[in-house]
């Protein structure tokens, strides 16, 4: 039996409902991700756009370099 014949047996009117279920599952997963994120993580991410012209110290040397990185912050224009 050809694939097109197999497909012809499908009841296509339920497609919108199936699609809706797909979307809801994805939506719930994303909501879950958003709700389980700490405020600190979210604020850090949101502030990237405002910090993108500043020098960032290596993460493993954050403490050592914190003073230095503040001094060397460079504005590009």
């Amino acid at each position: 039996m050809s694939m097109s014949k197999i497909m012809s047996f499908l009841e296509l009117s339920v497609y919108p409902s199936i699609a809706l279920v797909f979307f809801l599952a994805a939506f719930i997963a994303v909501i879950w991700r958003v709700m389980t994120t700490t405020k600190q993580d979210i604020d850090d991410a949101a502030n990237i756009v405002l910090d993108d012209d500043k020098v960032v110290a290596p993460r493993h040397t954050i403490k050592q370099n914190s003073a230095r990185s503040a001094d060397e912050g460079v504005s590009h224009v």
Partner: protein
Amino acid sequence: MSESAAKTSTASTDRASGTDGLEAFVYDEKIVRMFSWATVIWGIVAFLVGVIIAIQLAFPEAGLGIEFLSFGRLRPLHTNAAIFAFAGNAVFAAVYYSTQRLCKCRMWSDKLSKLHFWGWQLIILSAAITLPLGFTQGKEYAELEWPIDIAIAVVWLGFFGGNFLMTLINRRERHIYVALWFYIATIVTVTMLHVFNNLWIPAGLVYLFQNGEMPSPELALKSYPVYAGVQDALMQWWYGHNAVAFFLTTPFLGLMYYFLPKAAERPVFSYKLSIIHFWSLVFIYIWAGPHHLHYTSLPEWASTLGMVFSVMLWMPSWGGMINGLLTLRGAWDRVASEPILKFFVVGVTFYGMSTFEGPLLSVKAVNSLSHYTDWTIAHVHSGVLGWNGFMTFGMLYWMMPRLFQTKLWSKKLCAMHFWFGTVGMVLYILAIYSAGITQGLMWRAFDESGRLSYPAFIETVTVLLPMYWIRVVGGLLYLTGAVIGAYNLFRTWQTRPEKYEEVVHYAPALSKGPIVDPKGKERLHANTALGVAGDKVLQGDWHRALERKPVKFTIWVLVAVAIGSLVEAIPMFMVSSNVPTITTVEPYTPLELAGRDIYVSEGCYNCHSQMIRPFLWETMRYGEYSKPGEFIYDRPFQWGSRRIGPDLAREGGLRDHLWHYRHFKNPKDVNDKSIMPRYPWLLSQTINFEEIQGRVDSMALLGVPYGELLLDNNAVDHAREQADEIAAELEVLGGPSMGDTRDKKVIAVIAYLQRLGTDIKKSEPEETAMGGDQQ
């Protein structure tokens, strides 16, 4: 590292470190400046061509009877210039500026950046040359012919996409900021849309392989899509709708999430909302395309699917709009004095208006009124002029003075641009909304006796002319604003320093793996790995990890957009009941095929539909409603999206050859109120009969049963015979002598028009030269 060394390095090579593990790099500003200027220049071209064709609609003689200036050929130039040249270059400027900063590295390859820039400008130039010459695939926003399609794929994915992805991979910022997610979605999805909507057979190559020569440039550039009729329509509007979604929406949302916080000097209102906004849009948008085909021959299930998802789009879209506007919280006082913020506020507001109106128009009842009217045109222009245009201008005014390392030359001129643009836009869309609703209501109006109130289509057009003139004024104001803006930016550029300062930035490279939080996030203390893994899932770690991995992120975006596409496409292509067979429907004769190709080339679909919807007011005006099986040989489909002239689906046999001949010569000779332009060149230019065999052979390769017409140049002989018949009939009717018309293009177009919609009226298949099984 010295400044000069840092300047010449790229992200892949600038790992030479400074002290304490810091690496030095310089952003590539030149490429951003180039794309910014291209945006300004192509913007003016797009708006100017828009004004020219708006004048032609109100005053058709403005086309001067010159083929290269006809509405059908210039309208695709206008749309392509606005979308791919103006908005496209704006997107690239935004991506190159923000990506480098958000990734804290230079673009991966300067060479790819330059190839991208010059390749894209060459593509635009090719469009500007080929479209007025009549080289078109005849599908809205996908008009460019096959060699340009290939160039687009190479430049978009190879140069732009490759460079962008490699920059992400080599970035120095762990988290991929949400603006970059929108850019990823743009690159991935536009590639998918472009490739699958542009699968074709190049007719010229078919002829070349068979005969060892190329008969004409027209055939060299001609292609036929692998899809036909209903399937072509589904693919085209899957593409068309998502070109709006992923070329005019997602990259501009990326732009918004970067430049609006910059201009407002505060972070986005809710980063959480931006995450929901992103995934909801990416997942939902791709399903919505079929709403462009309500009440057509598209199966009902696909149409409903498109409507349901279109309505769902409203919420995430407004989530994005609210997120944008609330980013200005605490800064509204600056909006009054800062024209740049004004541009952004109006731009985001128009995003909200358009994304409310889009779902509204997708509701079938509303769509039955709006479809084929100027309402759609007004909707599109509120989106492009308001959302894309104003976000672009806001970005350019914020970014270009910084790129030129100077201040904006005149804030007053900037404000003037804003007001010219705003007033122009409002005039334009209000007039065209009125035109659309007026015409839609007139089409469906019945008098007391149950007959159409306005049976003559022309009545529903001439009433719109005052609104068309208001549109001209609105367009002129918008264009004037853009010229003022260009002048202001030019004067700003003139105040640049003699030599740009190359600022060296420092940032550490990313460590190989994620930094482990010493405090730990695991709340479970069970000994099972499963428990720990499960706990991480519950905490949403899976998505945070995804946000750090550009390749995996890209793959998941592709999965999200592919699901919607496949769910629509697979049943459409595999379920034969979607396109029930009509035994009397036959392939076009060689001459009709040549005439159809001229119809496509002239862009007739820009004003005429070929789709009668199953409404009483449509069937009374045009005849039996259109069936899916009628279009199985239509490559490309020509259903159209706007009726400036009447539907032509049942045009065949309605009028004699002489009427059509006179109509092409000067439409006012047969209808003094007509606003259709003259087509005198169709009466003087000759048909290239020799290349017709190549056209027929190409269609046969796609499965069209042409039988004996494929042998011994039979298609050419058949076309000549039919042309002689029509020319002779024309002479009998009182037209010019047969000798003057038998080889003219107008004869081929008349042959095509006289065939339209006639197959369904036959009682059984006729014996033709094609013969054989029609399916």
